[in-house]
Symmetry: C2
C-alpha cells in the first residue's frame, strides 16, 4: 500500500433543505449549490435532506468532473436524503437505519418517512483509508418540550456504536451532517466522548463564519424566527468531526461557514449554513506501548465523565421507553374498546330481540356508523400496537447496550490500566 | 495485551424452536437444553428462536455458573429470538436489523414479527479478541416457489457487509445460527466468498453427526415430513463459520451434531439439530507482504467466482425489487379504488337527489357497509403502500451496494495485484 505525507483534504457539509414543493426555491438553490461545489473542488461533499432523487442526479451530472464518485443513500419512504460526492473512488458503501425515529402519524414532522440513518463510505485517498460517515438525526421541534429527545439519544448511541465498530481499519475517520443537537447537548457529549471524534470547530485556530460557529441563524431568510427567539446568534447543529489513528495524525487546518447570504444571489443555499473544513493528515510512527499506557492513565478523568454521560443517556432512553410503553398500552386499550364495540354491534345484528329497527330502538344509521368507526379503530390501533412494540424492543435493546457499556467503562476506571482492547 | 498460545474454544449453536404455545414441549425442552449446556461447558452458546424472555431468563439462571455472561438481542415485535451465553466477558454488544424481512400480514410465517437481525458481541478470550455474530435469516417455506428468496439474499448481503466492516479489529471471527439456506445456495456462497469465513463442516476431519451434516432431519419427530420429502437425509441449514486473522491462525478441530433424539428422553432438544464445534486458535507472526501478494495472486480465480456470485445475488434482489414495486402499485390502485368509493358515498350522502332512502333507491344498509369497507380499504392500503415503499427503498439500497462491490471486485481482477485495501 502506498503511503503519502501531509495529505490535504477539503470536506463540505450542508443540509440542503430539499423537500420538493415545500422548501422554497429548490431548483435555483440546487443550481447555486452545484456552482459552488464545482468552483470549490472539495474532496468530500456530505449533503443532507436531498429528498428527491432527481436533485441528486442533477448534482451527480453537475459534479461529474470534479467529484465523479457518489452515492445516494436510500431509506424509509422518501429518504434517507443523504448524498455523498467524492473526488476519490468509493471502496465500500454501507447504511445503518436507526431503530427509533419518530412516529409515522406525525406526518408534518416527516422524520419517520425520511428513514433517518447513517451512511458509511470507505475511500482510499493516496493510500490512506478514510471511513466517512454522513448522518442526519431526528429534528428538535421544541427545545422546551422535546418529545423526541429519547429518539435522538438512542440514534446517537447507534451512531456511536456503528462508528466505533466499523472504523477499526480506518487511518482517518470523518463524520459530518446535521445532528440537530447543540454543542453541549447530551448526544454531542456522548458522540465525542465515546468515539474520540474531534469537533472541527474546536480543533482549528482558523475559523471564519457565524459567531459561535452557528449553522442555523436568524439572518438566514429561510429559518424559523420563532425557533431562534432565545438564540439571537443562532445555533450550531451541523458538524464535521474527525479523528486520526495510531498510524496517522490528523488536524483541522481551517473551518468556515456561510453566513446567511450569498453575494450576488437573492437567497442563500439553504435554511442551514454550509460547512467547509480543511483537514491535514500525516503518517506517523505507530505509538509505543508506554505512550499508549501513559495516555490511558491520563484519560481516567475523561472515562469518569464518559460514564456519567452514558448514564445520562441511559436515563433519557428509559424515559423514552416508559413513554413508548404508555403509548402501546393506550393503543391496546383503544383496540380493546374498538373490538368490544364491534362485538356488541355483531351481537345486536345477530340476536333477534336486539335487532336494529328503522322505526324504533337502535337506529340503523348510527348502527353502521358505529360499526365503521369501531372497525377503523381496531385496524389502526392494531397497526399502532405493532409499531409501538417494535419501538419498545428497540429502546430496550439500546438501554441494555448502554448498561453493558457503563459496566465495561467502570471496570476500566477501577483497573486504571490501559484499555482492555 | 496478554497473548496465549493454542486457545481451545468450544462453540454451540441451536435453533431452540421456542415459540410459546405453538412449539411442542417448550418447557421440558428448555430444561433439557439447560442440562446439556451445564454439562458440556461451552465457551460460547448461540441460540435462535428464544422468543420468550422468560425462557431466556430461565437459561440465564441455569447457566449462571458456567456461562455467566449473556445477552438477549431484542428486535421486531417478538424477537429477535437471538440469545448468546458466554464463559468470557462481553466487551461490546451491537445489533443490526435486516431492512427487508417478509411481510407483516403473513402472520403465520411470523418472520416479520421476529425482527430478524444479526447480533454482534466482542469477547476477550485470554487476550484474543473474538467478534462473535449470531443470526437467523428469513425461513424458506417452499423450496420450489420461494417467495422470500430476494429477502434472504438481501439479508445475507447485509450480514456480509456487517461482518466485513465490523470485524477489522478481530483476531478471530465466529458466525453461527440458522441461515435457512442449503450449503450450495446463493447466500452461503456469497457469505463464504465475500467474508472469507470457513464453514466448520468443511474445515474439520473429525465430524460426528447426521449424514451430510444435516441439521433438519426427518428422523426428528418435530420436523415437517412434507418439507423433507425430497431430502431423505435431511438438510443442512444451521452453520458455524469462522476465520482467523493476520495475527492468529484458527482451525476447526472437531464438529458434531445431535441426531434427532436424546438418549433417555422422550423427544429431542428442538426441531433443529444442535451444533457443537471445537476451534483451535494460535497466535502467528504477521504475514509478510510478499506472502500476502502471493495469496492475492492465487485468489484471482476465487475473485472471479465471487463476482459471479454477487452478480447472481444482485439479479435476485432485482427480482425482489420488481415484485415489491408491483405490490406497491397494487396497494396504490386498491387505495385509489377505496378513495373513489368513499368519495362517491360522500357525494350520495350530500347531494339531495342522490339521497339514500329506506324505501327505494340506494338501500341504507348497503350504503353504510360499502362506506365501512372503502374506509378500511383506504386505511389498510395506505399503511401497506408506506410499508412497500420502505421495502423498495431498502432493496434499491442493497442493489446499489452490490453494484459498487462488483465494480471494485472487477478492478481487483484486472489489476491482478494485491487488494487495494
Amino acid at each position: 500500500m502506498a503511503t503519502t505525507q501531509d495529505v490535504r483534504l477539503r470536506v463540505f457539509s450542508l443540509n440542503c433543505w430539499g423537500v420538493r414543493y415545500l422548501s422554497q426555491h429548490c431548483t435555483p438553490r440546487y443550481q447555486m449549490i452545484a456552482d459552488l461545489l464545482k468552483e470549490e473542488d472539495f474532496d468530500l461533499i456530505l449533503l443532507q435532506e436531498v429528498y428527491s432523487e432527481k436533485d441528486y442526479l442533477f448534482l451527480k451530472r453537475a459534479l461529474s468532473h470534479c467529484n465523479p464518485h457518489s452515492h445516494y443513500f436510500k431509506s424509509g419512504v422518501i429518504g434517507s436524503g443523504l448524498a455523498l460526492f467524492s473526488k476519490h473512488k468509493l471502496l465500500d458503501v454501507f447504511l445503518y437505519r436507526y431503530s427509533v425515529n419518530g412516529f409515522p402519524y406525525k406526518a408534518f414532522h416527516g422524520d419517520w418517512y425520511a428513514g433517518k440513518a447513517v451512511g458509511m463510505v470507505v475511500v482510499n485517498i493516496g493510500g490512506m483509508i478514510a471511513h466517512v460517515y454522513i448522518t442526519h438525526l431526528h429534528a428538535e421541534y421544541s427545545r422546551e418540550k422535546d418529545a423526541y429527545l429519547p429518539h435522538r439519544v438512542a440514534q446517537t448511541w447507534e451512531l456511536v456504536q456503528f462508528v466505533r465498530l466499523t472504523s477499526a481499519a480506518a487511518d482517518l475517520v470523518i463524520l459530518g451532517g446535521d445532528l440537530n443537537m447543540h454543542p453541549s447537548d447530551l448526544g454531542i457529549r456522548l458522540l465525542r466522548g465515546y468515539t474520540g471524534l474531534v469537533d472541527c470547530y474546536h480543533a482549528t485556530q482558523n475559523f471564519q463564519g457565524c459567531p459561535d460557529g452557528a449553522t442555523y441563524i436568524p439572518q438566514n431568510p429561510f429559518t424559523s424566527k420563532g425557533e431562534l427567539e432565545t438564540f439571537p446568534n443562532g445555533i450550531r447543529i451541523d458538524y464535521i468531526l474527525f479523528k486520526g489513528s495510531a498510524t496517522l495524525a490528523a488536524k483541522c487546518d481551517s473551518f468556515s461557514t456561510t453566513m446567511g447570504h450569498v453575494p450576488g444571489q437573492p437567497f442563500p443555499y439553504s435554511d442551514h449554513e454550509a460547512l467547509s473544513v480543511m483537514l491535514l493528515a500525516q503518517r506517523q510512527q505507530k505509538k509505543q506501548e508506554e505512550e499508549e499506557e501513559e495516555e490511558a492513565m491520563a484519560s481516567s478523568e475523561l472515562l469518569a465523565n464518559l460514564i456519567d454521560t452514558v448514564n445520562e443517556a441511559r436515563t433519557e432512553v428509559k424515559v423514552g421507553l416508559h413513554h413508548m410503553e404508555g403509548m402501546r398500552h393506550t393503543a391496546m386499550r383503544m383496540g380493546i374498546m374498538g373490538l368490544a364495540l364491534l362485538l356488541l354491534e355483531m351481537l345486536i345484528a345477530l340476536v333477534p330481540w336486539l335487532a336494529v329497527s328503522t322505526e324504533q330502538g337502535f337506529p340503523r344509521a348510527t348502527f353502521y356508523l358505529l360499526g365503521s368507526l369501531s372497525l377503523v379503530t381496531l385496524v389502526l390501533t392494531g397497526v399502532l400496537y405493532i409499531f409501538y412494540s417494535t419501538q419498545v424492543k428497540a429502546l430496550h435493546s439500546t438501554e441494555e447496550q448502554m448498561r453493558l457499556a457503563v459496566l465495561r467503562l467502570q471496570e476500566q476506571v477501577t483497573s486504571r490500566g490501559p484499555h482492555s482492547r
